[in-house]
Amino acid sequence: MALVFRQRSILPGFGISMGITLFYLALIVLIPLSAVFLKTASLSWHEFWSLATEPRALASYRLSFGASLVSALLNLVFGVLVAWVLVRYSFPGKRVLDSLVDLPFALPTSVAGISLTALYSRNGWLGRPLEAIGIEAAYSRLGIVIALTFVGLPFVVRTVQPVLEEMDREMEEAAASLGAGRRQIFTRVILPTILPAVLTGFAMALSRAVGEYGSVIFISGNMPMRTEITPLLIVTKLEQYNYAGAMAIAVVMLVTSFLMLLVINMLQRWCSKRSGG
């Protein structure tokens, strides 16, 4: 097989493995995804725009992005803290806790949804004390933020952890011997080193939160205009056989996720350049 774009190698199997890869990728991912754009092309630009920007859709974008942003920021702060504690300190139960950080990746979203709702509803372990001080956690926007924080929890921890582990402690020692205080060392030495990883984890958590469905719908109450996230609005429109409306909003979501994937790729390239250089 003489493919022009490939460098010569003595290893066999390029043709068949690449063939399987491209065929399966096209069949499962690329063709179905392009079908959305193909179907949407049957709408005129005006129709598409009015469907994608109807008041209920706009309210859902505001809620989905707002709540995702808040939860990703929470995960940024606590993720760095958890990564720091797991790498630098030792305490009993640390290894178990370390592997449990990945729980939100492994736990099905509907399980997370009903367990968070049970925790934060009025009779729940946490809902009751919160209600006593006048905070309504379940069936509110706060509930959405809680669910999205759960879902995005592992990202910042897992991007920052390896960078902290590989960090050269000599830099900190040098800074200390030159008279820098602990706070100065953190802001001038540690923070700049982990910043690309922190931002990558933040962007991943944000991207995951914007599209999240299962863990949110149980706890959010799902009131149109108030606590209705964008993925739920798509499902509602589908159940009403409003395919055009569902499609228009789905295209908005797809374009945002492509943009975020682009940003995440750029951040990751920045990360590997940092650690390589």
Partner: protein
Amino acid sequence: MKRTVSLGSRSVPMAVARTQLEPVLVRRLLIAVALLFLGLFILLPLGIVFASAFRLGAGAYLNAFLDPDTLSAIRLTLLTAAIAVPLNMIFGIAASWAIAKFQFLGKSLLITLIDLPFSVSPVVSGLVYVLVFGLQGLLGPWLADREIKIIFAMPGIVLATIFVTFPFVARELIPLMQSQGNDEEEAALTLGASGWQTFWRVTLPNMKWGLLYGVILCNARAMGEFGAVSVVSGHIRGLTNTMPLHIEILYNEYQYVAAFAVASLLALLALVTLAARSLVEWKSKQHLADVRLTHKEALEI
């Protein structure tokens, strides 16, 4: 006299330790806040699943699994994973062989495209298949003429599951195989092994732990997928309900014990997945150490 202070398992001279550690109070405070955060968002949600499932005792818990709809949901979930996981495994091995072992144009674009299903919302992933195979979809009329049902039936559930678990195996294998390089395979081929022999005897043993973890992760997600499957399933009880969907139905019918009983099985699966991850990480580190040792010995000889 040199005083040392223990830092984890190592001993470090005092002067160095002081620059690396915060005051005890700050350290304890940071650990406490981290534990509080993880307790609130990880341990409590996990604990309440089992607490609610066993709230009315073991009898009520076991009773939940006598419901024929629950049993059929479990069967459908197992069947779906049994189809989706092997297909994604074959794809993952093929993709990682092509990407890690060869240099070609457009490689990073290909990797990005493989990652694509991760960044698409599960609901949109389901919708995509409705727009292809549904009655209003591109192929809808053609399929309806031939009475082939994909949406609101099992093929749709399997397709949506394959889509959302698509990247898992490939993503585990590509970095692993890239870090291992081509030397061993090239040596085997030069010594006269065939391509297949090289793959079975050299490549597969080297990647087995990564492959195992990728498959376990892919399986966990395949059995637990909710959003995408929910859009294509049609929620027909006893027919197109998977375990995660059945949990939603039971919960909405206020059958809390039954809902959490089914949820506890999936939570257990998640815990097994995490344990397997720790084990595989430990094993692959050992494997790497072994390989380094043999290389060193070979060099010394």
